[in-house]
């Protein structure tokens, strides 16, 4: 009896608070898109703690590769750009609640996330999972992490994969600063994170006694996102087109170079794949 009441109650709550499901193209209201156009400003959620994709420069301005992409979007629409710093743990909520119009925030494209936000195709970048480990330890194989404490950041989807596949004991901190400090304090044997971010750490010169010794795994494309209700409407279709052109024109490869990111084979392949057949 009680159980039934609880179940009914939960169902009631669930039904009452259900919000936007993906809509068909013929239901397009283009609310957010119209708001951007009429207001003359697009608000884009980007990272502020993920150098060089999105971070703060000496003046406190948010800059980076993804901010440049956001600027491209604003320019193409002919509106002003406002960037808002988001975190992995709140970026989808910001978009759902309308605090931002869209998001370009180093987000891996995962099936679960596609249920909540409108991730457009094609993807614009990719990264794999790797570890930053001290040279002194000399890790060669993923298997060597078994039973060892490995630092990570709350919010990364591969924490679970590394724990389950290789038996590593993932100690996940709330921020990257804490996780990296714990690695320096020798509280863990490695720090598990995106290979692209680790590469930029190594390039910074602050991690000379460390290395990225493993073969990257679980290569996962990144997705930018619009509100889920507008995925198949003007906004989503427009962003698909933007991304396509970024690949075809070589803009993404150019930005990768500009921000000192190690060239990824993924962008080369996509550039080839989408090549204009009439181009010289």
């Amino acid at each position: 009896m009680l159980k039934k009441a609880i179940t009914t109650g939960l169902l009631g709550t669930a039904l009452a608070s259900t919000s936007a499901m993906p809509v068909q193209a013929d239901q397009c209201t283009n609310d957010v898109f119209n708001k951007i156009m009429s207001g003359g400003k697009i608000i884009v959620g980007v990272k502020a703690d993920y150098k060089p994709w999105g971070y703060r420069d000496e003046n406190g301005n948010i800059v980076g590769m993804e901010v440049d992409l956001a600027q491209d979007v604003a320019d193409a629409l002919g509106v002003d750009l406002e960037v808002v710093a988001v975190q992995s743990s709140n970026r989808m909520q910001f978009l759902e609640q309308g605090k931002i119009h869209m998001m370009i925030a180093t987000m891996s494209d995962r099936p679960d996330r596609r249920k909540l936000v409108g991730i457009t195709q094609p993807n614009y970048y990719t990264s794999g999972t790797n570890v930053l480990a001290p040279k002194a330890v000399g890790i060669k194989q993923w298997d060597e992490l078994k039973g060892k404490p490995v630092c990570g950041k709350q919010g990364a989807f591969y924490n679970k994969i590394v724990a389950e596949r290789y038996g590593a004991e993932v100690v996940a901190f709330t921020g990257n600063a804490e996780a990296k400090q714990a690695l320096r304090d020798k509280k863990c044997i490695a720090w598990v994170y995106d290979d692209s971010s680790i590469m930029s750490d190594l390039a910074s010169g602050n991690w000379n006694d460390f290395e990225m010794p493993l073969a990257s795994e679980d290569d996962n494309p990144w997705g930018l996102a619009v509100p889920i209700g507008e995925l198949n409407c003007a906004f989503g279709q427009f962003m698909s087109g933007m991304t396509f052109n970024w690949h075809q024109s070589g803009r993404l490869i150019e930005l990768e170079k500009k921000w000192g990111i190690q060239p990824t084979a993924y962008l080369q392949n996509q550039n080839e794949r989408f090549k204009d057949w009439l181009a010289e």
Binding site: A14, S17, R113, K115, A136, E178, K187
Partner: protein, 255 residues
């Protein structure tokens, strides 16, 4: 509860997640995720119980030292109370684990790792107990000051020592006065255990945050569970404290 019934409940929530992607109660139908929740719950219980007991012990001892004839003992307690009461517990946790953690002895299982003898769970227990203990010292002091001077003089005239007076006369009376305030502080302590997430203590919040990061659709469901668990936990604590309070009541004394 029969297996068929459990399965039908699981099936219901599996369906709910399909039809309502924001209400993915994954910990109900996925045994692996359920286990993580239970692990976190168990850690929260352990943290809470150990910290509650230690903080009360710290409070009793601290309040006793505050009445000491030795000036340095009184100063020590005063310094301790000021330090722990006036700084945020979040910063205490970070400071203890990262800063003080460097000075504790370590052992190395493989030549590189330096595992401190005090783990992050250990630091969380130390830091949270001392944090709540500082308040408890003051709470017990207020109780002690409510014990009439004449009562203390009477016990001294009976030949009781300083410690005997404290244990057999002052504390039992002071306790009754202190209980409502102590109650509040312990409730706060149980809730503050969630802050141990910053030093990666795998308590309930840590596990639930990890789960809704792995399954974004489970965020609402995880938050609902968080509230339910804490309402339950704090409810049990308050119920126990209230019973204790009633059990110790002396007619005509105190509230």
């Amino acid at each position: 509860m029969s297996d068929a019934m459990i399965e039908s409940i699981r099936e219901f929530f599996r369906q709910l997640a399909e039809t309502h992607p924001k209400w993915n109660f994954i910990y109900i139908y996925d045994p692996g995720v359920g286990e993580r929740v239970l692990d976190g719950f168990w850690m929260t219980i352990q943290l809470s119980v150990v910290c509650v007991i230690l903080s009360v012990v710290i409070g009793v001892v601290g309040a006793w030292l505050q009445r000491s004839h030795h000036v340095w003992a009184r100063l020590l307690v005063q310094g301790y109370v000021q330090f722990f009461r006036n700084t945020p517990p979040l910063i205490q946790l970070l400071f203890f684990y990262f800063a003080l953690g460097q000075f504790t002895p370590t052992y190395s299982p493989d030549g590189w790792l330096e595992q401190p003898v005090i783990s992050n769970v250990g630091w969380a227990i130390i830091s949270l107990s001392f944090f709540a203990g500082a308040f408890n010292v003051e709470i017990f002091r207020s109780g002690i000051e409510a014990v009439p001077e004449s009562t203390i003089e009477a016990s001294e005239s009976l030949g009781m020592s300083h410690l005997q007076t404290y244990i057999y006369v002052i504390l039992p009376l002071a306790f009754r006065v202190s209980l409502p305030a102590l109650n509040n502080n312990l409730v706060n302590l149980v809730k503050t255990t969630t802050q141990a997430i910053v030093i990666a203590v795998p308590e309930l919040l840590y596990q639930l945050v990890s789960i809704y990061n792995d399954y974004s659709t489970a965020q609402n469901a995880c938050m609902v569970l968080m509230f339910v668990v804490y309402i339950g936990l704090v409810g049990i604590l308050v119920l126990g404290m209230n019973r204790w309070e009633r059990g110790m009541q002396i007619p005509g004394y105190g509230a």
